[in-house]
């Protein structure tokens, strides 16, 4: 897995620093937030390996609020956000956008660098 930049668009997706992500989760709790949550096996999953079942799902700019959010201790990371009436859960996260000050951008990339999962939280729509 590459240590730093995943694309050349001026972002700096870095390997997740657990303590830093936990602090960011704490800063975003107890307020209305826009969420983007996505998971995909890639549209070509079944073409490349016929035993694989292609699946993808995303929800973008739904509004959530959580009272308790945590990230697991070890990579690949899991995040759980406890809401009044339910949970947001994501597994397989590897990278985060370190330069972001307002938003939390988390992503999980596989060994080829492809995006498998993403979880984003912000006060403005994505």
């Amino acid at each position: 897995m590459r240590e730093r930049t995943l694309d050349k668009g001026g972002t700096s997706m870095r390997l997740i620093d657990q303590a830093d992500v936990q602090q960011r989760l704490d800063r975003l709790k107890d307020q209305d937030l826009y969420i983007h949550l996505e998971m995909t096996t890639g549209a070509y999953a079944a073409f490349i390996d016929s035993t694989k079942h292609p699946a993808a799902t995303f929800i973008t700019n739904a509004v959530i609020r959580y009272s308790h959010g945590s990230v697991s201790d070890q990579a690949p990371y899991r995040v759980g956000l406890k809401m009044v009436q339910g949970w947001v859960y994501s597994e397989g996260l590897t990278h985060y956008e370190e330069q972001e000050t307002e938003r939390l951008i988390l992503a999980g990339h596989d060994g080829q660098g492809k995006l498998i999962v993403s979880l984003q939280l912000g006060r403005e729509p994505f």
Binding site: H68, S70, G80, K82, W87, Y89
Partner: protein
Amino acid sequence: MERHILVVLPHPDDEAFGLSGTLAKYIQNGYRVTYACLTLGEMGRNMGIPPFANRVTLPAIRRKELEESCQAIGIDDLRLLGFHDKTIEFEDHRLLDGRIDDLIQEIRPSLIFTFYPGYSVHPDHDACGAAVIRTVGRLPADERPAVHCLAFAKNLEEDIGQPDVIQDVREFLQPKMASIRAHRSQFQAAELLGDHEYTSEEIRERFGTERFWTYPFGS
């Protein structure tokens, strides 16, 4: 202390393969068992083959299966703690440990069964075991019940050694197989084990022993 056992596991069916025979044995020897199941396993991916459950109906189905399993084992005190599947590791420790402590104070068990934290593969298993160990660890040393842990991670014996509690449950394969079969949405393999076969040598060999690690608390 009372002859009372507390079982704390996160999913309905966690008791079936590794613990049900031992519990049936304790119950026959006069112990009472309280089983606290943290979740309803509502995020499970097995829905039966062909699927007879879905995301909406799965929790109620698994609850029924768990009640049937408890009946088979002889457990008459099942507590459903209402946490959500896959979220135990994220729960507020105060809330989670507090619920477990309430049960310990109420029941005053002489023995607790749970998962060995760090060696139980599923994050809910590890987090459940960790919560029990934290809670019991806060009790004064002379009030601590023994904690016997289930564990099944690869290479675990290099770290935590051989299991020190070996239960011969060959006399309790009938309740054990009934417990496994009760979880019909989860274990299709159970259908292969017909009612009459639990005495066969292969099944006695495979299911006749349950292994536990006594958790080593410091002083």
